[in-house]
Amino acid sequence: MSQKPEKLIDKKGLRLDGRKSDELRPIKIEVGVLSNADGSAYIEQGKNKILAAVYGPREVHPKHLALQDRMLLRCRYHMAPFSVQERKSPAPSRREVELSKVIRESLEPSIFLEYYPRTAIDAFIEVLQADGGTRCASITVASLALADAGIPMRDLVVSCAAGKIDDTIILDLMDTEDKMGVADVPVALMPNLNAITLLQMDGILTLEEFGNAVNLALEGCKKIYALQKEALKTKYVSVKEVEE
C-alpha cells in the first residue's frame, strides 16, 4: 500500500499526474478488435485497459429467462486477476455483481429492446488493467461494442467521473485520487438525449459541490463522446475502403 501523498493537488493547481483539474487522462479507443464477437471495442484511459465484446441478439439460455415483449440485456463486468496490485480472485466479487447491474442499467435505456423479443444480448467487459474509473470506461467501451454489433440504439452511452480531492472539484479520477480523495461521482450520459443513465456517489459533498461535480462530469462525457464517435467512424471508413 502506497503512502498517502500530503497533497493531491499542488500550488499550481496540478494533480499527481500533472493534469489540470478539468483535464481528462489520455484516451485511446478502438472498435472491432475481436473477430468472434458480433461487436467489440477496446479502451485505454490513463492506465485503464478494458475490452468489451457483445454477442447477440441470440437465443436465450436458460430459456425461462427470455422476455416475451423485449430482449434481455445481460452484462458481465469482470476484472482480470492481474489487473490490480494484489491478485484479485477470478470469482465474481460483490463489487463486480453490483457494477454489472449498474452498467447494464446504464446501457439499457439506449437500446431499442422491444425490437427483438425473446432474444438475449450479452455484453462481456473484461478489465485487463485497472486505474480508477473502470466502471465509467467500461460503459463507454461497452456502448461502442453494442453499436459495433449493429444493435439498434437511440444514442451512445458515454461515462466519466468527477470528484473532489483536497478542496478542488476534479474530472476523471485516477486510482490514487479515487482512494485518497474526498468524493467520487461517476456519471453516464446519452449525449443527444441529455439523459443521465448512471449516477453514483461516495464521499461527502455539499449540494453546491455536487451540482458542480455533475456538471463537470457531464462536460467530460461530452469530450469522450467525440472520441467515441471518431473511433466508430474510423472502423467503418476503413471497412468501406477495403470493399472498394
Partner: protein
C-alpha cells in the same frame, strides 16, 4: 406480473401523478408512516425493526474480534449483508444472494461508511492485529416497496442500539470485562429514494409504484445536510435538472425524518 397488467397500472398511476396525487393518497414528496423499534433481539448486540408503511425490515448487529484490513490497521471493520428472505414476497426465492440483495447491502453500507457514521478508530484494540468487526445483517421481512430507505433506517437504528463489551488487554490477550459501552456513533445518514414515473419524481415509492417506475435514485444525506452516497437504479434515465431537484428534496426530507425520529 404480466406486462399488460403493468402497462394498465402504469397509465393509472402516471395519470394520478400528473395531477400531483398517488394511488395511496399521499402527495408526491410524502413518506409513508415510519415506525422504529429498537432492541428487539436480545441475543444480538444491537437490533431494530422498521416499518415503512407495510414494508418491514429487521436489522441485527453482531460484534466479533477480528483482523483489520492491511491498509487501515487502526480501524474497525464494517460488514453489511442483506437477505431478501423468501417469506417477504412471492418474488423472493431461497438461494445465494442475487444482484438485488447485493446492491441493497452495498447501498446501505455506502451510506454508513461514507458518512463516517461509526467512529471506526475507536473500534481498534491492537493496531494491525485486533479490531472489532461490526456485522450488520439486513433482514427484509415484508416487501411493499422502497427496501433501500427502510433498510438504511433499520441499519442506523440497530447501530445506535448496539452495545460493545468492555475489554482489557492482558499479556496480548483480550479479556472481556463485565458491562457494555455503546458503539461510538457520530453521524446519522438518512437515505431518501425517488422513483421516476412518467417523467415525474415521487419519494418513497411503494411496491405498485416500483413495478411501473422507469428509474430509481437514492441519496443518503448526513447530519450537516451534505450528500454522502448516491445510487441510481432501474433501466431508465434522469435529466441533469431532475438530479439536482432530487438532491434538494432529499436534503429537506432527511431533515424532516431526522426531526421526527429525534436523531
Amino acid at each position: 406480473m404480466s406486462s399488460v397488467v403493468i402497462r394498465v397500472k402504469q397509465k393509472q398511476i402516471a395519470q394520478l401523478i400528473a395531477k400531483g396525487k398517488r394511488l395511496d393518497g399521499r402527495g408526491l414528496t410524502d413518506y409513508r408512516e415510519i415506525k422504529v423499534e429498537q432492541g428487539i433481539i436480545e441475543r444480538a448486540e444491537g437490533s431494530a425493526r422498521v416499518l415503512l408503511g407495510r414494508t418491514e425490515v429487521m436489522v441485527g448487529t453482531k460484534i466479533e474480534i477480528g483482523q483489520p484490513f492491511p491498509d487501515t490497521p487502526n480501524e474497525g471493520v464494517l460488514t453489511v449483508n442483506a437477505e431478501l428472505v423468501p417469506l417477504a414476497s412471492p418474488t423472493f426465492e431461497p438461494g445465494p444472494p442475487d444482484e438485488n440483495s447485493i446492491e441493497l447491502a452495498r447501498i446501505v453500507d455506502r451510506g454508513v461508511r461514507e458518512s463516517k457514521a461509526i467512529d471506526v478508530e475507536k473500534l481498534c484494540i491492537d493496531p494491525g492485529k485486533k479490531v472489532f468487526v461490526v456485522f450488520v445483517d439486513v433482514y427484509v421481512l415484508n416487501h411493499d416497496g422502497n427496501l433501500i430507505d427502510a433498510s438504511a433506517l433499520a441499519a442506523l437504528a440497530a447501530l445506535l442500539n448496539t452495545k460493545m463489551s468492555n475489554y482489557e488487554i492482558e499479556e496480548d490477550e483480550v479479556k472481556i470485562k463485565p458491562g457494555y459501552t455503546p458503539l461510538p456513533m457520530r453521524s446519522h445518514p438518512i437515505a431518501i429514494t425517488f422513483a421516476k414515473i412518467n417523467d415525474k419524481l415521487v419519494v418513497d415509492p411503494w411496491l405498485e409504484e416500483e413495478q411501473v417506475m422507469d428509474a430509481r435514485l437514492t441519496m443518503a444525506i448526513n447530519d450537516d445536510g451534505d450528500i454522502c452516497a448516491i445510487q441510481k437504479g432501474g433501466s431508465g434515465y434522469f435529466t441533469p435538472e431532475q438530479v439536482l431537484e432530487a438532491a434538494k428534496i432529499a436534503k429537506e426530507k432527511s431533515q424532516e425524518i431526522r426531526e421526527k425520529l429525534d436523531w
